[in-house]
Amino acid sequence: MLSTHMQDVLRQLQDRFGEQRALVAPDELRAYECDGFTIEKGLPLAVVVPETTAEVQWVVQFFNTHGIPFVARGAGTCLSGGPTPNRDAVVIETARMKAVLDVDYDDMIAVVQPGLVNLHLTREVCGEHLHYAPDPSSQSVCTIGGNIAENSGGPHCFKYGMTTDHVLAVEVVLPDGRLAKFGHPSAARGPHELDLVGLFTGSEGTFGIATEITVRLSPDPECVYTMLASFQTMEAACGAVSSIVSAGIVPAALEILDQATIRAVEASVFRAGYPQDAAAVLLVELDGAELAVEEDAAEIRETFRTHDAIRVQEASDPEERTRLWKGRKGAFGAMGRLSTDLYVLDGVVPRTRLVETLQKVTEIGERHRVTLTNVFHAGDGNLHPNISFDGRDEDERARVLQAGHEILELCVAMGGSITGEHGVGSEKLSHVPLMFDDADLDTMERVRRVFNPRDLCNPGKAIPERSGCAEVSKWPAMVEHVLRQEEA
């Protein structure tokens, strides 16, 4: 039961936003208790749906005054628990702030609201042969605001860089409700200023809420060519990737799907005609000037041959290319055909150690008796082992978590990282110390306190809470003291 004070707070919220933009009934709030990472859940205190920057400010100030934590949410497709509420936080849903505010076709810049769907931006500007390059697999639903929070990647980020490489400026409602502007559309990250846009991007929603985002648009390449090769072994597929990259070719994307994934995809609406007898398929996309693409394609064809590809499909027309990609983009959801729940892991290893890592990942899966499939950005060495399981089975769930933990440890041991693009969220908090020591974490913690001194903005994410760090706990009071002096 809520305290009278809380009830009063919620009543004020509903008075301000009405019942359809402020949900408070616990049963309805269930729908917000997790994102794409369903293992950990947290029921929010309320959900509020602002439509303007001013409303976001009002909400943040309101909850800041009451000392109630809050977390911004876009489409809820995050895979690490980023927007899952902790400590009864209030969810600030940005889905209604989805306008494209301005497009400068000459300078190739767009200003958008945070709730705009990634793919909708490309749809808006495609008439002028432009696109927004970062393409997470959920791009047809995920929002730009969420992409910024997580510094999302995607298949084409191998060549074009992650979200952070495409954000020029952000307008942010700081955790105390003030409005700040970082970066500048004409000179991103100029030498004269601190790179606050860089800091903000990937801060997993803990530094504030972006309400206006200026992004770089990219010109469509002159020519795009997609090749799909099937191999009898995973080793051969990974070998082909290494050969392609070491030959100096930079494809727009290099993706591998293993057999179990292929079969699930082929049984779904995203059926792409992937050969089901192959142990692995490698999806290569080339783009650029026509001559260069042709030259690279010829070399890649040769690579496929030397690595004993059993079948090669090629597509240059948009429709056929979309079909080849469709399977890859829908791979995650198609896993629903294997079991009731899915845990998508996100580890990175050096590309040269892919084969070795995958073998060990398979061993870990077998040891813990879990159903494990692999689909990954091979060019970046960014693995996505998918574990299908029945979340209602306590024992299976424990084995899944243990397997996941060991896989991430393995990635670090191989000289890699615990996350390539999904973020730490709440999912990988306990793995963070595998990569960073106390001094590293202290620094991160201090930076966060500068933006978010009271830890009300998406608490309990990205940086693990550590005990015995006296200096860190002193920080909020100090920062507030300094800020108050400045204001006075």
Binding site: Q20, L23, A25, P26, D27, E28, R30, A31, Y32, C34, D35, G36, T38, V47, V49, A75, G76, T77, E93, A95, R96, K98, G115, V117, S138, S140, V141, C142, V265, A267, S268, V269, F270, G330, A331, F332, G333, A334, M335, G336, R337, T340, D341, L342, R392, E394
Partner: protein, 415 residues
């Protein structure tokens, strides 16, 4: 969880969802409201929680479930193949039994659906009274006094004259060579409000060389009852229809909503007879596209937009046939309509139950249609025709709304 929830039919279906969220943007209510509770993923999550007995007050999640249009656009994009339409209808039926909707309006709705819509004789009588009432100016009076709001007035069609409401029951033979035989499903409200379209469908089939049998004993398809959580009424109607349409010739229908319901008798009843019947049911456009038109349609020198009814494209997966047929009409220019497969907000009687949301979705559809520059909109579902007509008019457009088959006739003035 050690204590497994009760085995409810729908529960297993809800487990197919792995929460990827690729469906949410396809959902018309999520598009307007921006709420997870009003998205397919959110609704599935709530239905699963209900089955797992994690919902304390089922009445509090009811509005979110009731706001679902049942358009099934989410099924088209779902990589896991979640059978959302069947899932929500089963849950609605369970909820209607265990947590019945309160209030006079819902009781009245259930009464009308069970005792009037499901009984063709009474429905015909009701429409005769409605026609009389309109003739003596009662509708005009209701509008003037505000009893019938203007938005509703635009939506509710006028009752056509008696000759357009007559049953077509019997065997009809084509003039020339016979290519084959079919049975025609004429629907309940369809017969009374869109009788002319039934007549045109009949003419079109005859013109194309088909013998048409219209079984006299046929009944309402039961779709509205199923949407309203009255599964048992639907089951009864389904059995009667299966009996009325005995034989093995194709059963042709011209209303996407009814067609989707007929196609699911097999799934709903779960027996072989029903499955065989469902497999025989074909939308008129899908059927004609398959067999090919032998009678060339009359020229139609206009810009036409094809708007796909959800229950045709998402539920029956009939996507290309209507446009392919329209392209065969001489002089007809089929315009690009990217919004074609998005719901118009009609959704059975949704536009009467949820007028605000349906209005918002309808206006959006009208705006997109106006942008296409079409003079005529073709869509193969009576509910969609009424909804689109009303919202085009509201947005100041005078584009006509027709059923695609109206444009396929060899002699449009004849029937």
């Amino acid at each position: 969880m050690t204590d497994l929830p009760k085995a409810i039919d729908s529960y297993t279906k809800s487990l197919d969802c792995v929460h990827c969220g690729l469906c949410i943007e396809a959902c018309p209510t999520y598009d307007v409201l921006g709420l997870e509770t009003d998205s397919p993923r959110g609704r599935i999550y709530l239905m699963r929680a209900l089955a797992e007995e994690r919902i304390e007050d089922p009445y509090s999640i009811r509005p979110a479930l009731d706001r679902c249009l049942g358009c099934r656009a989410c099924e088209t994009v779902c990589p896991s193949g979640v059978q959302y339409g069947q899932l929500i209808e089963t849950v609605r039926s369970e909820m209607a039994d265990r947590w019945p909707e309160k209030g006079l309006a819902s009781r009245l709705r259930r009464f009308l659906l069970t005792h009037v819509v499901a009984r063709q004789g009474r429905l015909r009588l009701a429409f005769r009274f409605a026609w009389l009432a309109e003739r003596i100016g009662l509708r005009w009076l209701a509008r003037k006094t505000g009893l019938l709001p203007a938005t509703m007035d635009r939506l509710v069609p006028h009752v056509p004259a008696g000759r357009f409401r007559r049953s077509l029951a019997g065997l009809h033979k084509p003039k020339g060579e016979v290519r084959g035989r079919v049975q025609l499903f004429t629907g309940c409200v369809m017969e009374q409000v869109f009788g002319d379209i039934n007549q045109k469908t009949l003419t079109l089939l005859l013109d194309n060389g088909f013998e048409v049998e219209v079984p006299k004993q046929q009944r309402c398809c039961g779709a509205l009852h199923l949407h309203n959580g009255q599964a048992s009424v639907t089951h009864g109607l389904a059995r009667e229809n299966i009996e009325a349409f005995s034989g093995d010739v194709p059963v042709i229908h011209n209303s996407a909503g009814c067609g989707a319901a007929l196609a699911e008798y097999g799934e709903v009843l779960g027996d072989e007879d029903a499955e065989r019947f469902s497999a025989r049911c074909r939308d008129i456009t899908a059927f004609l596209d398959d067999v090919g038109m032998s009678a060339t349609p009359a020229p139609f020198p206009h810009r036409v937009a094809y708007d796909a009814p959800c229950h045709l494209c998402h539920a029956q997966k009939v996507r290309r046939a209507p446009s392919d047929l329209l392209r065969q009409v001489p002089d007809l220019e089929l315009v690009q309509h990217p919004d074609s497969e998005n719901c118009c907000g009609s959704a059975g009687i949704y536009n009467i139950l949820q007028p605000e949301l349906a209005g918002e979705i309808g206006r959006k559809k009208a705006r997109h249609l106006i942008e296409t520059g079409a003079e005529v909109v073709a869509t193969g579902n009576p509910g969609c025709m009424m909804q689109i007509r009303a919202h085009l008019a509201e947005c100041g457009s005078n584009s006509r709304v027709v059923h695609p088959i109206e444009l396929l006739l060899a002699d449009r003035d004849k029937s």
